[in-house]
């Protein structure tokens, strides 16, 4: 039944999808960059501001009670959504990028020293590279990079060959934002066997896969609300409670303290310890509402539906001999990077835009991967719960038109 719902009705839940681009219906194939929002989320933000708004946590008046409860309730929703064991394991940040920086800075201070090693992969997003580069630049941490095979899957043998007794942490994407490939759980098992901590960049997986951090047994998991049909300005860091308790604080300020004198301070317990200053409270609430919305569809249904749509599009695209796709992996979903032969990705994106189709073109914040693929840029079509096969067909037709437009000239 939910599968049927996905196939029919969801589009109407998203006001932005009724937009026309020039005179064409919008076909939004850019969910990997950021998802559109269902009206329940948009309205919830307005309702918070219009009826329950105040700063959180520090007052006794009614609005403050309402705002605080809404904010903390959102934390519970996130906790359940990824099956964390405790609310204390859910830290609200501004985006996944902040979450990764938080882990990088604090993890180094607690667990590492110069010469210790961190394993990343060659296909990481800049947001899962730069925070670790800083550790290399400033403290002499050594970074190693897992290679990928030609389908865009991490090379497990290569991974194992990188592990030494200096290795402390593995920080890798859970679902590639270029290939759509899903990271094999074995990588976590191997890490466990070698006593390595694991950070999963769940920016893409959180909206496409059912995530269970307890079952995955990762130590850290990060994602952003805006890719999960929630508002901008909100990110999440999941960390195992014992680890987060051990790590030092990150940003300092109001709300993250216990006692302060001019001589020093003691810090608040989790999760407040990592939430300095007024948090993105309405945004957190909006994310909670987005999670309710998705739960109502069922993440299993989302997974099935998007997988089918991705396979359908991949098949159709492989029938076009002028299209290069950059991953043929079967273990992938929702994201297809491609190029039209002899046509720059920007031309393709501009052409499609005029047809009403929104795709990304560029390096997708993965410049090192582009170098490996030996292209300056790719075009990327990415799907969300509101997309359908009809749109894929329209997209395929547009690719054909695009190809002939640029070939004829």
């Amino acid at each position: 039944m939910h599968q049927e719902q996905l196939k029919k009705n969801l589009r109407n839940d998203f006001p932005s999808l009724t937009k026309k681009i020039l005179s064409n219906d919008l076909v939004y194939f850019d969910t990997a960059a950021s998802a559109q929002k269902p009206s329940v989320v948009i309205e919830a933000l307005g309702d918070f501001y219009a009826n329950h708004y105040s700063n959180v946590s520090r007052g006794v008046h009614t609005l403050c009670v309402e705002a605080t409860f809404k904010y903390e309730d959102a934390r519970k929703k996130v906790q359940k959504f990824i099956n964390a064991k405790s609310e204390n394991e859910i830290i609200f940040t501004k985006n996944a990028t902040e979450s990764i920086n938080l882990v990088a800075q604090t993890y180094f201070k607690k667990f590492m020293q110069s010469g210790d090693e961190i394993i990343l992969s060659v296909m990481e997003h800049h947001s899962n590279l730069l925070p670790w580069f800083f550790l290399r630049d400033n403290y002499g941490v050594i970074l190693k990079f897992i290679n990928i095979d030609q389908d865009g899957q991490l090379d497990l043998d290569h991974f194992q060959s990188l592990i030494t007794d200096k290795t402390k942490l593995v920080a890798i994407t859970h679902l590639s934002n270029v290939f759509g490939t899903i990271t094999d759980k074995k990588i976590i098992q191997i890490s466990r066997e070698n006593n390595l901590h694991v950070l999963l960049d769940g920016c893409q997986s959180a909206s496409h896969l059912k995530v269970d951090v307890t079952e995955l047994d990762c130590d850290f998991f990060v994602f952003s609300g805006h890719k999960l049909y929630g508002p901008s300005g909100i990110g999440v860091l999941y960390g195992k409670e014992n680890l987060l308790n051990e790590l030092p604080p990150f940003l300092g300020g109001g709300g993250m303290i216990n006692e302060v004198s001019l001589d020093g301070a003691t810090y608040a317990a989790l999760p407040a310890k990592y939430e300095a200053g007024t948090p993105p409270m309405v945004e957190a609430y909006g994310l909670g509402v987005a999670i309710d919305y998705i739960n109502n569809i069922g993440m299993e249904n989302v997974e099935l539906y998007e997988k089918e749509l991705t396979d359908y599009a991949s098949q159709k695209m492989s029938d076009l001999n002028f299209v290069n796709r950059y991953s043929n992996s079967i273990n992938k979903t929702s994201i297809i990077s491609f190029n039209l032969k002899n046509i720059h990705a920007h031309e393709v994106a501009s052409f499609l835009d005029v047809e009403g189709i929104a795709v990304r073109a560029g390096h997708h914040c993965c410049q090192p991967l582009m170098k490996i693929l030996d292209v300056p840029a790719t075009a990327r079509a990415s799907f969300g719960i509101y997309n359908n096969k009809h749109e894929v067909d329209y997209f395929i037709d547009a690719l054909i038109k695009c190809n002939s437009f640029f070939s004829v000239k």
């Binding site: 720059h344 920007h346 501009s350 300056p376 437009f405 640029f406 000239k409």
Partner: protein, 145 residues
Amino acid sequence: MSDLLKELYQEIIIDHGNTPRNFGECENFNKSADGHNPLCGDKVHLTLHLDDDDIIKDIKFTGVGCAISIASTSLMTQSLKNNSLDYAMRLFEDFSNLVTGSETSLKMLNEEDSLYALKGVSAFPMRVKCATLSWHAFKAAINDN
């Protein structure tokens, strides 16, 4: 097929995009600069020879990028070669106005100029950077003594 696209990808653009003119490096260049658009990966390497009278005696480029940026660079080199620096700077201003849709303020460019073919960019605001990349590199080359 949309008129906007036809406007954007005029024959001359496709032509210069596929077979750019003045591609390479000047033999005796005394000015050079690299341009890079991090958002899309377009890159240009510009070399030029400016003589004592501030005349651009030679100008060439290498680079990778989309049709718009390659064509724009190619057309720029044609327009600048054998012209004065002063002329080039004034042309830059006009060109910026052209591609951002402020046509009414054009002082030098008109429909006869080959650069005018890039007018279609103004309907694609995110492509303006593609069209002006080489001009910014030119400016950087001049300012970099």
